[in-house]
Symmetry: C2
Subunit: 341 residues, 2 copies
């Protein structure tokens, strides 16, 4: 009887080990923003469009990884697809500032070396993620902002476009709507309580950021994020996307992370580094750490989501909104794309 019990314990251990070994290994995760994305508001055609672009983006990055290229190459190629598509609030399709401009932010980071690059408030470089990569690879700096960052992108040989390139009717209409709704609300409101100052009726204006984390054949992680920021933003506002540690972070010892959501809350919580530190200092899994970080944002009143991928190919995609455009691809090329909860 005792022998049988021991045998069963062994058999179960072998079975469990096999299940673990068979667990899916992801090599890339992406997001296209989180927010009030409800199935009832979506047409089947619109839904199909989003699925198509997310799938294309995953394929573009996967091709790099399969080809033995770096995770950085995969992240850049993937985000190019999302930046060049008007469905997302990044590159073509970026939202408008209060002054009717498209001011974009992006960041990229490499998990092996902890090298990082970021740009904020760029207006002429076609692919802000490539500008971030150029800052990382071709300058001694990590972050450049405004006209200086655009000039650097030009000097680095990147494609420069007329700001009109970023104009889309949907985003322009969105700005007009936002201005109308906000017309009674002064940004400077000395009398308001902090909670009111932080609040915004239009919090979906903040969503649509894109991001990607990739794991290459050499076992190196890279993470990138690109965004147009918040519709109707004023005064050169910068969100979390280009802030290393907040919207973007990557470390081979822990995970690559890209966030999307109400940027101010992500900065105040330094979300991406928090996830990495929960893994490094508390020994949490990438999923457990990611969920705790989103809970912190939620408790403070913020919303959004994030994607994270560790060196072993475990991923997490938590969000506390109605939906998040997201996708992942396994080492053997199996694609998963989702929109709703």
């Amino acid at each position: 009887m005792k022998t049988l019990k021991l045998f069963l314990v062994f058999a179960f251990a072998i079975f469990a080990a096999n299940v673990s070994a068979q667990q899916k290994k992801y090599v890339m995760v992406i997001h296209g923003g989180a927010g009030t994305i409800l199935k009832k508001n979506m047409t089947p055609e619109k839904e199909a469009e989003y699925v198509k672009v997310l799938t294309e983006a995953l394929k573009a990055g996967y091709a790099k990884i399969k080809d033995g290229k770096t995770s950085l190459d995969a992240v850049e190629a993937t985000i190019h697809v999302l930046e060049n598509d008007p469905h997302f609030n990044a590159g073509k399709g970026a939202v408008f500032t209060h002054d009717g401009r498209n001011e974009m932010d992006a960041a990229i980071m490499e998990g092996e070396t902890l090298m990082a690059g970021a740009v904020a408030g760029v207006t002429t470089v076609k692919n802000p993620i490539s500008a971030a990569r150029a800052v990382m690879e071709k300058s001694e700096h990590v972050m450049m902002v405004g006209a200086g960052a655009d000039l650097f992108a030009k000097d680095a040989g990147l494609e420069i476009v007329d700001p009109k390139y970023f104009w889309t009717k949907e985003r322009w209409d969105g700005l007009q709507q936002a201005i109308k709704e906000d017309s009674t609300k002064a940004v400077l409101d000395h009398g308001s309580k902090k909670s009111e100052l932080l609040g915004s009726k239009n919090h979906d204006y903040k969503f649509g950021t894109v991001g990607c984390v990739a794991l290459d054949k050499a076992g190196n992680l890279a993470a990138g994020t690109s965004t147009g920021g918040m519709t109707n933003k004023k005064y050169g506002r910068v969100g979390d996307a280009p802030i290393i540690g907040s919207g973007t972070y990557c470390n081979n010892e822990t995970a690559g992370i890209s966030c999307t959501g109400w940027g101010e809350f992500y900065i105040r919580n330094v979300v991406a580094k928090t996830i990495s530190d929960l893994m490094e200092y508390k020994g949490l899994s990438v999923d457990a750490a990611s969920k705790i970080a989103i809970e912190k944002v939620g408790k403070m009143g913020g919303d959004g989501g994030l994607i994270a991928l560790d060196k072993k190919g475990n991923m997490s995609m938590p969000f506390n909104t109605e939906g998040m455009y997201r996708g992942a691809i396994t080492a053997d090329g199996k694609i998963e794309v989702s929109i709703y909860k």
Copy 2:
């Protein structure tokens, strides 16, 4: 004999408890930059000037705390003294960009609420730390950059000055020297290895940032940092000072932190949040956590220092350079100011 031993153990325990209770409680720590500060290069007059300003800065903040004002008020008052004094690379005395401009960055954060504000690349607001505070308190945003941030500061009623106000002969001469030394070095250097790209012969051009952490009577921490960045900086470069989590962070549960040094390394290591997380997730003291963070910067090739203060009044001021202008004041008003190792 046994009774005697027990008595001695008890006596020692009481003695140890007393020593612990008598440990100094600090209510404010400040820095005025870390770098190659050698006694042999300093005149007694120059040294006395630095000590005088650091002392004045501590007194200005201490007066607020003693008066029952918030730690935020203390941080702002202290940094005003340092910003208004030409000895430091912040406000009046800020270094020049390659184009001969003074582009300043600052951040402030409140430990109780995790509210934060930051500005980067401002050129006309007399006290950038106050602009950061205005972003935190009078807008729904955390970070504003460039002309937008200056406009916001103006709209918020802050003192605006002609950019000429920031001109000082010493910094202007520093720029001319830097341009001369860098004339053979292109910032865009596609052929170089990463280590070369990150390297800089002129790394003392990066120092002189000022910062302050304060603890008020209500037990709340606040931290702030203000800087002119790096002499000869190009392309709208932004360092770690205005990056929440990197150069500045504050959390009542852990500590308030302000960093100074080679900003790029502080961003890549997300230094300030790392210290907070080492305290929160590993249970380390503020001093142990701060030292680990500086070691991480050093191992990567970066240098600088930081100041940190926890809710109990324990402080840490590690640096891996030859010197750091620094000071602290205890709850009963005892001032300590140091420059060298």
